[in-house]
């Protein structure tokens, strides 16, 4: 066995590359992350908001970017590209080229003096050429890393040998015109490609007049126009006349689902981003009308359909099912859209602004790139992956994640990124890490007993806060507060350079407490705490005031009152900060074993991924056999065979000595916490004895099933079957040699309707798959698919085309006019059926004689999820699926540490997606179990033994059994490893003997009292 390398090369630092880097770095790998641009962040940084939560994209991305840049296990190579890969998996040598930037990143302080002086204006790529930048520039305001770079193509000094103003302006002497491109070799065990995609360039759609008509923009351009930190500061105006638009049209599928242009795939994200942009635009511009011209609304993801419905019902976004034929320009810049209604009637509508919902396409340079590193691409230029191996390229040891392997939204990219981290980890020589953190922090300054010296930093958040709140006013106010030694405003407090500023100020002013008034501590507190640590302060000497989410954003029309509130929130923060004390985190030992609950494909994949990386796994399945839903899946859209996958996976499971399988077994209880779980499993067969398993993490892969439908005569007729049942019949040859003419497939049965307001995602492809199988066998059979929207997203779209080519008939129906199914002979349960549906375009009734009716019933979260959720203390969503920690950026984590989710337990998904998420869950688990020790919470309860009277109330109220009685002394104590810091015991304690560190009675009292004090002072002052 050769000596495996601990290093990994990750190409591309969009959200996928960032996530893969973080996961691998947490597992102990040495990560080299290379990025062509001068900032990490990728396309996600360009987005204004994210669907379906309307989370601010940069707000959730920023902490990840900072974390990535700060992580001691990650080396960033900016302005770099991969040239070649040589060697074998486990021992590659990769050549990368670092382009000259002519700015020394170690010297540049990102002060911006150079930019001011630079005379050359260049159209800005990040802002979609909607504004100009200088030849010396930062990729965007919140760039990570924050330093400047020179655009050699446009720099006068470099191209013509004149100028050099920047060099003279730079007081840090960071400019170096002698800089040259460098080629360096990186030895690594594996390579991950996360190179992403480009947005489709709609210039080829001449009929839409892009670049000819100024008011026709792409969706990515519109995203920048909407963005508060974009070129229009979020105040959208039409490019042709600088007026706010009265109405805006979105044209879907530009560069997607277009066979003529060789783009026979769905870009998967455009429907949702168009809905999002329409909602945001309507919020930005009063009275704006928004219309979306679409073919099918593909709201197939978790919580997407609810978002779609809100856009329609709550925000009044108009949806027109039509492909726009062409656009003409009117005098003044308005645009006329020519389109045909579904019934063929031609129509026109005028709009101030037209947004082309451009698809995702392969990067321009992808052909050369793929050749240089010898990986295969598919027909559309995406990275080729084999069925059931969605994370592996054609080259062993080289993996792919993110949209490079096909259109993906953010959470799917993140899942694939975590997944790829686990795939790659097995090629790296990783050992369990002894130390909690690789990162070395300076020793903590002892501040106990020192008078509080508070630094207050007030964030503009671009214009997010400063656009409403008088930030300088708040700074002045902060300065007037007792113990505030220093106050300053920051443009983006969370940006790399501002955090550096905070560190400097801590030092310069000998600060021992820090208050940041910015956004929400829920996302940003960890970041600032780390900044404190870097500055030699205990991380708990920190407090945040939320003057954005809970102030400027909520009071946009009341700047004065919002400012007053911001001041008071700062004041309360300062009051609390005065009393904060240094806290230490308890190290918690981590048991390296994993419990995987559920032995379907997802559970098995997670188990195998872990075991193949040398971790022990307990795999618990309540059925007698492994396999779950995969047992029922006989065909795939392509030519791969699910049953082979099943057999192979089960074989691998049983052949792996590190996996202990418990089939026919249920979970009885789960106790403990990250690193130290104890689970009792009970065999379901009689006489089975319970067994206790000890493990460090849990992966929930409990799956889902078909909804037990009672619609469409399912219960009455044997000729009405579900898609899974139909698939089984096809597989068993039930139809071979029997007379059969018509099959009617009805989609969205118990899906996308009142009470079950979600798309089951798989059913469209499943129907098309089974239709194609039947057509292959009986080309003469007439197959009707009654649908609401066909949602063959991504590369599945080609099979939709194939089905139509083979004569499968697709008939749409409206939710208000659902098809009906009747037995032709009501007395005979074996009777053939009449299916009646109303063509929503013609309004005409269509009656089909059906030999079989096949129902696409919704995927249903099992009732048992509730019990398990309670045992694990994790939440479910409205629909009964497990609810992840964050729908965009933490798609396999729970808020509770050490517990992860994958497969159908999370939401409906197909085989490849389940494999991806299961691999991701394994990776996230590995970020924990790869460590021997993690740190517990610092903010936990403590008992003042002098005050405790031993009444035991705390023991009763503690849900974690963390409060215990010392029987000898007759007083209570807190088990620090178990305490989660909820404070229920503290609030119950009559003696005031228990307090919650970080949220002490004293701190809360001070916060309450602070404003009263202010008012008294105000009164006495006047």
């Amino acid at each position: 066995m050769f000596n495996k390398n601990k290093s990994i090369l990750i190409v591309g630092a969009g959200i996928a590359g960032i996530q893969a880097s973080l996961d691998l770095a947490e597992m102990g790998a040495d990560v080299h992350l290379i990025e062509q641009k001068s900032s990490i962040g990728g396309h996600m940084a360009q987005l204004d908001k994210t669907f379906p939560t309307n989370d601010c994209s940069l707000c959730i991305l920023s902490p990840k970017m900072s974390e990535c840049a700060r992580h001691p296990g990650i080396t960033l190579h900016m302005n770099s590209s991969l040239i070649s890969i040589n060697g074998e998996p486990g021992n590659f040598t990769c050549k990368i080229r670092e382009s000259a930037t002519y700015v020394d990143p170690d010297k540049c302080v990102a002060c911006g003096l150079c930019e001011e002086k630079c005379p050359t204006k260049v159209t800005d790529e990040f802002d979609m050429e909607l504004r100009t930048r200088k030849a010396i520039y930062r990729y965007f305001l919140q760039s990570v890393p924050s330093n400047y770079a020179i655009d050699a193509e446009h720099c006068l000094r470099i191209t013509k040998g004149v100028c050099g103003l920047c060099e003279r302006a730079c007081t840090a002497e960071a400019i170096n015109f002698e800089d040259t491109d460098k080629e360096i070799d990186i030895d690594c065990g594996a390579v991950i490609l996360a190179v992403g995609i480009d947005a489709f360039d709609p210039i080829v759609y001449g009929q839409y007049g892009y670049r000819k008509f100024l008011n026709v923009v792409t969706s990515l351009e519109f995203e920048r126009m909407l963005c508060a930190s974009g070129p229009q500061m979020g105040h959208v105006v039409c490019p042709a006349n600088d007026k706010p638009p009265k109405n805006v049209a979105f044209i879907q599928c530009v560069g997607s689902r277009d066979r003529e242009n060789g783009r026979n795939y769905c870009s998967s994200v455009c429907c949702m981003y168009a809905i999002k942009e329409a909602i945001i635009a309507k919020e930005h511009i009063k009275g704006l009308d928004a219309t979306i011209f679409f073919m099918d609304v593909r709201a197939f993801g978790k919580e997407f359909d609810k978002y779609y419905r809100r856009a329609d019902e709550q925000f009044g976004v108009e949806f027109i099912r039509s492909r726009v034929a062409k656009i003409t320009e009117l005098p003044g810049g308005d645009l006329r859209l020519h389109f045909a209604h579904q019934d063929g009637g031609r129509d026109t509508r005028d709009f101030s602004l037209v947004v082309l919902s451009v698809g995702l396409q392969q990067r321009k340079d992808i052909l050369d790139f793929s050749e240089s590193i010898d990986i295969k691409l598919n027909d559309y230029g995406f990275c080729q992956t084999a069925d059931f191996q969605p994370l592996d390229t054609s080259k062993p040891g080289v993996f792919v994640c993110g949209a490079f392997s096909g259109p993906k939204d953010i959470p799917e990219s993140v899942m694939s990124a975590s997944g790829v981290a686990a795939r790659a980890a097995r090629f790296l020589g990783l050992k369990r890490q002894k130390k909690v953190s690789k990162k070395e922090f300076p020793p903590e300054r002892d501040v106990v007993g020192d008078r509080p010296r508070i630094g207050a930093f007030i964030c503009h958040c671009g214009i997010n806060i400063a656009g409403v709140v008088d930030v300088p006013g708040v700074v002045e106010y902060a300065k007037s507060l007792q113990n505030v030694e220093y106050a300053e405003d920051l443009l983006y407090a969370c940006s790399q350079d501002c955090m550096e500023t905070i560190k400097q100020r801590i030092e310069e002013h000998n600060l021992n407490r820090v208050l940041v008034a910015a956004c929400t501590p829920r996302t940003h507190e960890p970041l600032f705490r780390e900044t404190l640590r870097e500055a030699g302060l205990n991380q708990y000497l920190f407090e945040m005031a939320n003057i954005r989410d809970q102030c400027s954003w909520a009071h946009m029309n009341e700047p004065e009152l919002a400012t007053e509130k911001a001041k008071e929130l700062v004041e309360m923060g300062v009051a609390k900060a005065r009393g904060v004390t240094p806290l230490q985190k308890l190290p918690v030992d981590i048991d390296p074993r994993t419990l995987v609950i559920g032995g379907g494909l997802a559970g098995m994949t997670a188990a195998l991924t872990l075991a193949e990386t040398n971790y022990r796994v307990f795999l618990v399945e309540k059925e007698e056999k492994l396999g779950g839903n995969l047992r029922s899946i006989q065909f795939s859209l392509g030519d791969s065979e699910p049953q082979q996958l099943l057999e192979k996976t089960i074989e691998n499971i049983y052949n792996n000595k590190l996996i202990t399988v418990y089939t026919g077994t249920e979970i009885k209880t789960i106790d403990g916490y990250i690193g130290n779980f104890r689970t009792t499993v009970v065999p379901l067969h009689r006489g089975g004895t319970p067994k206790e398993l000890q493990h460090g993490v849990v992966i929930v892969a409990t799956g889902a099933g078909e909804y037990p439908t009672e619609e469409y005569r399912y219960k009455e007729s044997k000729r009405v079957v579900t898609q899974l049942e139909f698939e089984k019949m096809l597989h068993n040859g039930v139809f071979t040699g029997k007379p059969m003419q018509n099959v009617v497939m009805i989609q969205c049965v118990n899906s996308r309707e009142e009470g079950r307001d979600y798309c089951s995602r798989l059913c469209c492809s499943q129907a098309i798959k089974n239709a194609l199988v039947l057509k292959r066998e009986r080309p003469a059979a007439d197959i009707y698919v009654l649908y609401r929207d066909i949602r063959t997203y991504g590369l599945k779209e080609q099979y939709f085309g194939e089905a139509r080519d083979r004569g499968v008939i697709f008939l749409r129906y409206d939710i208000d006019n659902k098809p009906t199914v009747e037995l032709i002979d009501p007395e005979n349960p074996n009777s053939k059926l009449h299916v009646t549906t109303i063509d929503p375009i013609l309004g005409k009734q269509v009656v089909i004689n059906a030999d079989f009716v096949v129902l696409a019933v919704s995927i249903n979260a099992p009732e048992q999820n509730r019990e398990l959720a309670q045992m694990l203390k994790v939440p479910l969503n409205e629909d009964g699926f497990f609810l992840e920690a964050h729908v965009k950026l933490r798609p396999v984590d729970f808020a509770t540490d050490g517990i992860f989710v994958c497969g159908l337990a999370h939401c409906p998904k197909d085989i490849d997606e389940s494999i991806t998420q299961a691999t991701a869950a394994a990776a996230r688990a590995m970020t924990v179990i790869s460590k021997m020790v993690v740190e517990a919470e610092g903010s936990i309860c403590e008992v003042n033994s002098e005050l405790c009277s031993g009444c035991g109330l705390c023991v009763e109220v503690c849900a974690y059994a963390a409060a215990e009685m010392d029987e000898e002394k007759g007083i209570a104590f807190i088990n620090e490893a178990l305490c989660k810091g909820c404070g229920a015991c503290a609030a119950s304690c009559r003696s005031g003997a228990i307090d919650l560190k970080g949220f002490t009675n004293e701190q809360i009292f001070s916060a309450i009292d602070s404003l009263e004090m202010a008012e008294i002072l105000q009164h006495s002052g006047t």
Binding site: E946, L947, C948, S949, G950, C951, G952, L953, E956, V957, M965, G970, S988, R990, S991, G992, A993, T1000, N1001, E1002, F1005
Partner: protein, 318 residues
């Protein structure tokens, strides 16, 4: 009385008690005083009658604290004393096996504050009891009263005159006096307009001098340091600011919610005859109605504020 003394003498030796808490005759007429008996011989000091108003559980918990809760202590217990003892055991203040509960039937006890009111500063020399009547004699005066007029309000509506949990019971169990409906005054008060109610409480509590006699008399107040006495941080102001005083009384009631056995010791202890029971009684009613819990009845049921039901009523939540 003879039966009591004899039985206790026997219990004292049978149980190998080191200490027994009971009542002894007071120095003034109509007053008894809690007494500690250290040997069987001393048992003849003991009395039990309608003057025995103190809640002995208070003395038990104090004694346990002082002595380190190791030896077996006997206690003479009316219904309320016994319930307090049960609650204190539930709260881990001493072990059940370290206490011997000697139940006695209670027919109501005098509320010293009521007596003070009636006497209005005058001193009595002797008294005479004739069934429900009591006649007080002092210098130049004679006052005939119905016993109920002197009995604690708690007693007038008491549902548990006899110890519910006990090791021994001496005498025949009493019937509840049943003079008043337990929550009649609370219900009646609640009919008043909120402003009237506030004015009432404000007036009552404004007389409070923060002597904490109510707290000191309460068997359930055994904290090492009461929240009002805390200084780092200071939970409430220590001066005589009315809002601080009111908050003290509210928090006291919150702290005894689901624990208070309504022995009336607090009201009896108050030198200013403040209506301390009103708020407490309302909360007691709420705890019974909302959580179905009455403190001190058994050793199994979890105290109301230490537990919850998922379907607890939440009509007050928006």
């Amino acid at each position: 009385m003879k039966e009591l003394v004899e039985k206790i003498r026997k219990i004292f030796s049978d149980e190998k008690l080191e200490l027994l808490i009971g009542y002894t005759k007071g120095t003034l007429p109509l007053r008894s005083t809690p007494g500690l008996i250290e040997s069987a011989d001393e048992a003849d000091k003991l009395i039990f009658d309608f003057t025995c108003c103190n809640n002995l559980a208070k003395y038990l918990v104090d004694e346990k604290k002082r002595s380190g809760n190791t030896h077996r202590i006997g206690i003479i217990a009316k219904g309320c004393d016994a319930r307090a003892v049960v609650q204190l055991v539930m709260e881990g203040q001493f072990e059940r096996e370290n206490v011997v509960i000697i139940g006695v039937p209670c027919k109501g006890v005098i509320d010293p504050s009521k007596l003070r009111k009636k006497l209005n500063g005058k001193e009595i020399i002797k008294f005479k009891v004739n069934r429900d009547k009591i006649t007080l004699f002092g210098k130049n005066f004679e006052l005939e009263l119905n016993k109920n007029e002197l009995f604690s309000d708690s007693c007038l509506s008491c549902r548990y005159p006899n110890a519910v949990q006990y090791d021994y019971f001496i005498g025949e169990p009493s019937e509840p006096l049943g003079v008043r409906d337990e929550y009649a005054s609370v219900d009646e008060f609640e009919q008043k307009l909120p402003e009237k109610r506030w004015t009432y409480f404000e007036k009552e509590y404004s007389r409070c001098i923060r002597c904490y006699a109510c707290r000191n008399a309460c068997p359930m107040c055994y904290c090492e340091e009461c929240f009002v006495d805390r200084s780092t941080p200071q939970w409430i102001g220590k001066g005589n600011d009315l809002s601080d005083t009111i908050i003290f009384h509210i928090v006291r009631v919150l702290h005894t919610a689901g624990r208070c056995v309504d022995c009336g010791a607090c009201a009896a202890a108050c030198p200013l005859n403040i209506d301390i029971r009103m708020l407490g009684k309302r909360i007691e009613k709420e705890v019974i109605e909302r959580f179905g819990f009455t403190p001190g009845l058994d050793f199994e049921t979890e105290p109301a504020m230490a537990t919850f039901k998922e379907n607890d009523k939440e009509e007050f939540i928006m």
